[in-house]
């Protein structure tokens, strides 16, 4: 089976989704999905192992060699992102059982898990494919299933949020499709490696530039780059808790990966950063995102919404690293893909715990809750420290690389702004901590109990990971660096 590892990564969840649809009972659907997600993780680990040994893997679907058929191709970067998606999925699912039962009506739970598997399929497919159009197809799979997942939130506003996301997401997807179409017209091929070769002779045409612009905007919308982030806060706020955690940790990361693929593999670093002004535009937007989104986060009373805005700011960090187009910058961006998945996953899971017990994550309802739910709030506090970038956490590692990258590029103003936005992060995290820890509890929350262990354990697994990878950075930084070098075409 090892020969088929690559395709199995997508096929396992894909074939499981309709099977899940046929299962009766929410417990069966959950248990099945859980098993599948662990199988997906196992596959991802095997895949990473193989890639680390072999450099890269390729798989010709239907035995049609690229560029004629669809080629699947995995290198260090994609294997790393696959690992992020698969591990977040595997951690969120044990958590999901109680949370989903609490938030979603029984008759929709089977559908929920089906969509979850499909979303997993889509995200994984985007990462492992080596074909531009196939990427679009999987982007659609992941997008449509996430619209559905979000619409299942308990609040009626979830429907509006999902609808907004659907409209915006579809516009973004259309842009991507137009971009892919233009590239196809110019080169007659859809295979990314082949595209890379055939694009350079025609790089100076209006069409290729337009394709680049369309792709950049479309993907930027998907990854919620400021000011195209407007769908994200509502979507993350009203989605079911498990979905917020899963999507926050994976969806934007995969979109960033797509951006990386297009910039560095397809168009090449010379075209993307020298012929096109994208480096300057992106770094400017990224810095604005860092500052504006953090400032807006400061003001949010719904904590999930606050975290959503913080995600927009964090995407700014990632894009900033990428826009520097240096090894350190890319390493910073890629390592933050992983680290941000860990911290945001943990924080949104903690939100799920609160929501289960309180039915709300409004800041006023959290008064003095730390004494009632010490484990949950401790998880929030530690996750918040990681978000701020306190040493010993993954957040520090990311920020460290990013500041280094900015300084290497002699942009010390940017470095200072990074630190300033951390200060804003301190403020918005602290605001919650202070209310939860230092305010007397409300009478209604006096009888609130700690969240069940099945939800706390996944949360703390992610918190543990935040500290583990904050202390032992050898694995993540080596992977991120190697991925960055591959993108830039340096080394092996």
């Amino acid at each position: 089976m090892t020969a088929h590892l690559l395709i199995l990564q997508v096929i396992i969840p894909l074939v499981s989704a309709p099977v899940c649809l046929l299962l009766r009972g929410d417990r069966a659907a959950w248990a099945f999905t859980l098993t599948v997600s662990w199988a997906v993780l196992a596959n991802a680990l095997l895949l990473l192992n193989t890639v680390l040994a072999a450099g890269s893997l390729s798989y010709a679907i239907g035995a049609w060699a690229g560029p004629f058929g669809i080629e699947y191709r995995v290198d260090t970067a994609s294997a790393f992102v696959v690992l992020i998606v698969a591990s977040v999925g595997a951690v969120v699912l044990p958590f999901a059982y109680k949370s989903v039962r609490h938030e979603i009506p029984a008759e929709r739970i089977g559908l929920f898990y089906t969509c979850f598997l499909l979303c997993l399929t889509g995200l994984l497919g985007i990462v492992v494919t080596g074909d531009a159009f196939n990427l679009f197809v999987f982007l659609e799979i992941s997008s449509l299933s996430s619209y559905t997942l979000i619409s299942l939130g308990r609040d009626r506003r979830a429907l509006t949020a999902a609808f907004q996301y659907l409209v915006m997401g579809t516009i973004g997807a259309t842009f991507i499709l137009v971009g892919v179409g233009l590239m196809y017209m110019m080169t007659g091929t859809l295979n990314m490696a082949d595209l890379a070769e055939r694009l350079s002779p025609v790089a100076d045409t209006r069409t290729v530039r337009a394709a680049f612009a369309f792709l950049t905007v479309g993907v930027s919308l998907k990854l919620a780059l400021f000011p195209l982030h407007l769908w994200l806060p509502n979507a993350y706020t009203y989605a079911p808790s498990a979905v917020s955690a899963f999507l926050a940790a994976t969806a934007t990361k995969v979109a960033v990966y797509v951006l990386l693929r297009f910039f560095f593999t397809v168009f090449g670093v010379e075209f993307s950063f020298e012929a096109m002004p994208v480096g300057q535009i992106l770094s400017m937007l990224a810095v604005v995102a860092m500052l504006v989104a953090s400032t807006v986060a400061l003001f949010q009373d719904d904590i999930k919404r606050m975290l959503a805005y913080s995600s927009v700011a964090q995407v700014g960090y990632i894009i900033l690293g990428i826009s520097l187009a240096s090894v350190t910058g890319l390493t910073a961006g890629i390592i933050h893909l992983f680290n941000h998945a860990l911290m945001k996953g943990a924080l949104f899971l903690a939100m799920g715990c609160l929501f289960l017990r309180l039915g709300s994550v409004h800041i006023q309802d959290l008064q003095g809750i730390a004494r009632r739910m010490p484990w949950t709030m401790a998880a929030f506090l530690l996750g918040g420290l990681s978000l701020i970038g306190v040493p010993l956490t993954t957040g520090f590692v990311s920020k460290w690389y990013l500041v280094q990258a900015a300084l290497e590029d002699n942009r010390w103003v940017v470095a200072v702004l990074i630190l300033f936005s951390s200060l804003l992060a301190v403020a918005y995290v602290w605001r919650v901590v202070e209310i939860a820890y230092f305010r007397p509890a409300r009478r209604v929350s006096l009888r609130v109990a700690e969240a069940p262990a099945v939800m706390l354990v996944p949360t703390w697994v992610l918190i543990g990971a935040n500290f583990y990878f904050g202390i032992d950075t050898s694995l993540t930084s080596a992977l991120a660096r190697r991925a960055a070098e591959t993108f830039l075409g340096i080394g092996t």
């Binding site: 649809l21 969509c115 197809v137 659609e140 559905t148 137009v178 017209m185 905007v217 807006v296 040493p391």
Partner: protein
């Protein structure tokens, strides 16, 4: 060994709750034991350090980012470690008596020990990043200590203010450290010291220095960041005695000493550091006089003394550094004892207001005597430690005349004397107002001497004041030399610690300060009156809070400006972004390629015009819903005709069918729409949107032109050539769909499936109110299932099924295929629903529609997996020819099974969506 030392308080903090609750040990005992253990550990290591050696213990931790665990014990760290631990023991002892039983939980001592550990880690760090880590930890733990009285809003606010400023300063410090590390290439202190002048000569030196001073200045309450310290007085007094004498506020001073060898010596350093110190010294001394709160007076006096030390560091002279370090020790000792004395007074009288506390000497003579000695040390009275360092300070300000070219060197002696005057005055106020000056007024408690052991820490500290003041060479000189050596990193100049230097200038300055101070205090009523009449005083706290309030307000407005939850706004922004980016990207590129132009024929022209008219009409007539839907249908129809015109029959067929399904869907949805259409937006907005839409359209047109005029160069020739021999079909489109790029199709039917699942999920449990009338206000027709329609639809179904079977089977070679066949079947079935209603049709189509979709996807995937059994990659196809009666010889490709999956998924989805939406009516009808 050093790691162990740093760990001692942390381990103590960890074990304390357990020891206190299980073994019933007094928490203060455990805490002082940990501190004592630490002190002993320091002292065992101290001997070589006194001889000028530097102990470094290092463990590699994260070499990738330059972080190792490394500790350093040199003279400066030794001095601070002794202060932290020594005064720590006394504070713990004092707190044991000071805190009420309710307050004296183990929580307090845990926080205290954590803070102690953080301070120790800070002063013992060799690695700069590790130092930062401990630096932030001191901010955090001090927040816990200052805000210890949780119920007290003043404590909470004070704690928050302190955290905000010192934490923020920590970030600035972070910036400075990173820059230094970049320049030096290492984050080890040893390497930084070895780098010599490289930091000072670097272009970024001013940036580093400013960031560094923000970090050190916030922590050490230097002007203009000084204002958090008085608010931190809301802390329990033992905390103030600890944090604001020997530890927290001295951390910034420690930093000045730590980085003195690499940062000091420049002109910028002199102006910035001594200027900051001077301003702080004067401001603190001046404001201290006007405080009525006992602790407030001490707080501002602390600010002033910290300013004095900073000023000394700023001078940059070797003797100045020695004086600075000397004053660090002296200030820690007398200020800790004064805070403790203030705490005793507060404890015994119930207030700290100096307008009410008078004549305490009669009630508590012993405490009074001790406090007066300590206050005299603060004022700089001879024979006490404060006098010695102050004398050195005066001497240094005078020496400036020869050392610096600064124009305003004359300012320093005068300013120093002036600050001395105020220091004497406020010390005098502390002594005279509290212990003499009449009788106490309305005290909540009758004052008397405190418990015996509570006064012991004060006794020890006051004895130290006197011992250092009288016998400096024996008591303090070795430590001072070791610490100064570590700061200066060079041999020390000769200096004398004698009590009496003769009638020199510093002595006269001291004398002037004494005299001036006494005079100022004597005329205090007049001075107070002048001070009260000063225009509005700036409050740093109010300023900070105002700034934060403004920030919140700004965030609020920003949030609303960006996100008014309007999709129109979102899409406007999105289109604008792509237009701007597109325009930027396209600027200057050639407009058209060199490919051959296809001549324009009348059919295409007509089609194009109709297409444009239809699109325009849809937008214009959107209020008349039926017309708008018809126009949409027209657009779709023309599109499919154009596909057919440009020889794409498969596309045309698909497009027509999709158009039918879409129109049915829209009509179904219209049933539930509200009767009135929403308000038309203003003309200006419509024009704005119209212009944007037109610009976008023109952009796309230009692009298409540019693209279509390029010479064709594609891999499609491969598909044309290989379709029959390798894929087994002559319909290239279908072979691409099910074979060459079959995986895309698999993905797309999954997308269809998700749409079905999503709609199902949203519709489950949904009941919509049935409108009484249609959107024009007409009642529904009473004949819900017209006979003609019923009859025709019954006839049509078999035909539709037959046609779809035909389309399906021939799909591989001629226009058709699973997708198109699925749509035909779907439309045929839907007609049944429309004609006879869901109630009548449902029993005849009993299958689970989601199941059909699922089965379709599974069949398609299984076809793909099947090829593994034969040793081929996923979705590899094969084909053969079979002959069936009636149909004749036809080709059977494995791709056909895949196409069957596609067919089922399409049928299922169409039924799901349309019947699901139509089914809402049924449910609503029966309500």
């Amino acid at each position: 060994m050093l790691l162990l030392l740093v760990c001692v308080p942390f381990v103590g903090a960890l074990l304390l709750p357990f020891l206190a609750s299980r073994l019933r040990l007094p928490p203060a005992g455990v805490a002082s034991l940990s501190a004592f253990l630490g002190l002993i550990l320091v002292l065992t290591q101290a001997t070589p350090v006194y001889d000028g050696e530097v102990l470094i213990n290092r463990w590699d931790w994260m070499p990738a980012i330059g972080l190792s665990l490394a500790f350093r014990l040199d003279g400066l760290s030794l001095l601070f470690a002794q202060l932290i631990l020594g005064i720590g023991i006394l504070v713990v002892l004092y707190a044991h008596y000071y805190l009420s039983a309710e307050q004296a939980q183990s929580r307090f001592y845990v926080f205290l020990l954590l803070f102690m550990g953080a301070m120790l880690g800070l002063v013992l760090s060799e690695n700069l990043l590790q130092m930062l880590l401990f630096w932030e930890l001191t901010s955090l733990t001090s927040f816990l200590l200052i805000g210890f009285k949780r119920r007290d809003p003043a404590a909470r606010q004070g704690a928050r203010l302190a955290l905000l400023l010192t934490g923020g300063g920590g970030l600035a410090l972070f910036g400075a450290v990173v820059l230094m590390g970049q320049i030096v290439g290492s984050y080890e202190l040893t390497a930084v010291f070895d780098s010599g002048q490289s930091i000072e000569n670097h272009d970024l030196y001013p940036v580093i220095l400013v960031l560094f001073l923000i970090g050190a200045g916030t922590k050490s309450a230097q002007f203009p960041f000084h204002f958090w310290l008085p608010h931190a007085m809301a802390a329990p007094t033992p905390v103030s005695a600890y944090l604001h004498s020997a530890t927290m506020v001295k951390a910034g001073i420690f930093l000045l000493g730590r980085f003195f060898p690499v940062l000091a010596g420049s002109e910028l350093w002199f102006y910035a550091v001594s200027g900051m110190g001077l301003a702080t010294l004067l401001l603190g001394a001046y404001l201290a006089l006007f405080q009525h709160d006992l602790k407030g007076l001490l707080a501002y006096s602390t600010i002033s003394h910290l300013g004095l030390i900073t000023l000394l560091f700023g001078l940059g002279t070797p003797l100045g550094e020695i004086a600075a370090i000397f004053h660090i020790i002296n200030h820690a000792v007398f200020k800790a004892s004064l805070f403790m004395a203030a705490g005793i007074i507060d404890h015994e009288t119930g207030t700290r207001d100096m307008r009410r506390i008078h004549g305490l000497f009669k009630h508590m003579p012993y405490t009074g005597a001790l406090a007066m000695v300590a206050a005299a040390a603060m004022a700089g009275v001879p024979l006490l430690n404060g006098f010695l360092s102050k004398e050195m300070f005066f001497g240094e300000t005078l020496a400036l005349r020869w050392l610096s070219e600064a124009e305003w060197h004359w300012l320093f002696p005068w300013a120093a004397t002036l600050a001395g005057v105020f220091a004497v005055a406020y010390s005098l106020r502390f002594i005279h107002d509290v212990f003499f000056n009449g009788e106490p007024r309305e005290l909540p408690k009758t004052p008397h001497e405190p418990p015996r052991w509570m006064i012991v820490p004060v006794e020890i500290l006051v004895v130290l004041c006197v011992a250092v003041g009288t016998l400096p060479s024996i008591t303090v000189r070795p430590l001072l030399e070791a610490a100064a050596g570590a700061v200066l990193q060079m041999p020390l100049p000769d200096f004398s610690l004698a009590i009496w230097h003769g009638f020199n200038q510093p002595f006269f300055m001291s004398l002037a300060a004494m005299g001036g101070g006494v005079a100022l205090y004597a005329g205090r009523h007049w001075v107070f009156a002048v001070h009260d009449r000063l225009p509005v005083k700036l409050s740093g706290k109010r300023l900070t809070e105002g700034l934060i309030a403004y920030l919140f307000d700004f965030a609020h407005r920003l949030d609303h400006a960006l996100d008014n939850r309007s999709l129109r706004r979102y899409s406007f922004l999105l289109l604008l972004t792509v237009l701007v980016l597109g325009a930027l990207g396209l600027w200057g590129a050639p407009l058209a390629g060199s490919g051959a132009r296809t001549p324009l024929d009348s059919g295409a022209l007509l089609g194009g015009l109709l297409l444009g008219a239809g699109a325009l009409a849809t937008a214009v007539k959107h209020r008349s819903r039926l017309i708008a839907v018809l126009m949409l249908g027209l657009v779709g129809l023309i599109t499919s005709l154009l596909f057919a015109h440009f020889s794409a029959p498969d596309l045309a067929l698909t497009q027509v069918l999709v158009e039918i399904v879409t129109v049915i869907l829209v009509l179904l949805a219209m049933y539930y729409l509200p009767e009135a259409t929403p308000h038309e937006s203003s003309l200006a907005r419509r024009v704005r949107d119209g212009v944007l839409a037109a610009a976008a359209g023109i952009g796309i047109a230009v692009l298409s032109y540019a693209m279509l005029t390029l010479p064709p160069d594609s891999i499609s020739s491969f598909y044309l050539a290989e379709s029959k021999p390798a894929g087994g079909g002559t319909n290239v489109v279908n072979v691409i769909l099910v074979d060459f790029r079959g995986f895309d199709t698999l993905g797309e039917i999954t997308v269809l499936g998700i749409a079905a699942v999503g709609i199902m999920a949203m519709l489950r449990g949904l009941v919509l109110a049935v409108p009484e009338r249609d959107w024009l206000g007409r009642p529904w027709s009473s004949d819900r299932h017209p006979l003609v329609l019923v009859t025709v639809s019954k006839l049509l179904l078999p035909i539709a099924l037959l046609v779809s079977a035909f389309l399906f089977l021939r799909g591989h070679n001629e226009p058709g295929g699973g997708f198109i066949a699925g749509l035909v079947t779907g439309v045929g079935l839907i007609l049944q629903y429309i004609a006879e209603g869901s109630e009548a049709t449902r029993p005849r189509l009993p299958w689970d529609k989601l199941g059909i979709v699922g089965a379709g996807v599974i069949i398609a995937v299984l076809t793909g997996i099947g090829s593994w059994a034969l040793g081929y990659p996923f979705l590899t196809s094969t084909y053969t020819y079979v002959t069936l009666p009636l149909i004749g010889k036809f080709e059977l490709a494995s791709a056909l099974f895949f196409d069957l999956g596609v067919y089922l998924a399409v049928v299922g989805t169409v039924l799901m969506i349309l019947a699901g939406l139509g089914g809402l009516t049924r449910r609503a009808d029966s309500v």
